[in-house]
């Protein structure tokens, strides 16, 4: 599957959830390429904006859509990657703020 093929699938999925894909298509296609790279690399679509452990159980919370997406969209209008966004975010009706890392430190890939 290519990023271009994945785009309409995830776009329909987002709409079914009452949210949207970021309207910046080129930006989103780069995210989707990252997702597909991670799928090939690890066997699952780990968040492309975070460093994966490469062990599914340890990355379960950041398999896209990550468990932090919905609270991030509620608070900031977008997920950490800015892949999934609210309608208002896409329409520029709310400020586009940096989404801080909600993943707990102990779950991040580090020593």
């Amino acid at each position: 599957m290519t990023a271009e093929e994945l785009h309409p699938i995830l776009s329909r999925y987002a709409e079914s959830q009452g949210i949207r894909l970021n309207k910046d298509r080129d930006f989103v296609l780069d995210i989707l390429r990252g997702l597909l790279t991670n799928e090939q690399r690890y066997g699952y679509r780990s968040c492309p904006c975070r460093l994966a452990w490469g062990v599914k159980e340890q990355d379960a919370d950041v398999i896209c859509p990550c468990v932090y997406r919905d609270p991030d969209i509620r608070e900031y209008g977008s997920c950490y990657c800015e892949l999934y966004v609210s309608v208002e975010w896409n329409e520029g009706k709310i400020e586009h703020r940096q989404v801080p890392e909600r993943r707990p430190r102990e779950k991040r890939k580090m020593l």
């Binding site: 930006f27 989103v28 780069d30 995210i31 390429r33 990252g34 997702l35 790279t37 991670n38 492309p48 904006c49 975070r50 460093l51 994966a52 977008s78 950490y80 990657c81 800015e82 586009h96 703020r97 940096q98 989404v99 890392e101 430190r105 991040r108 890939k109 580090m110 020593l111």
Partner: protein, 83 residues
Amino acid sequence: MTPARQKIRLYTLSTCSHCIRTKKFFKDAGIDVEFTDVDLLTGEQREKIMQNPECTFRPSASMTRSLWASTKSASARRSGSSP
């Protein structure tokens, strides 16, 4: 005394859209930056970089947007398509 010029080094992810834009910005601006895609590192090299407990790769949205806007306007100026 003028401080010695130091090369900028950024740690990035090869899969990250924000990182891709940041790299493009510096490249288009002609600023020499050394990028290290941490997800492509293995073993000791990777562990060494990950010793920073605050290490995250996502630049701020405003920074990314500013960089991207700069990149686009620079491209438009070069191609002569700027209004």
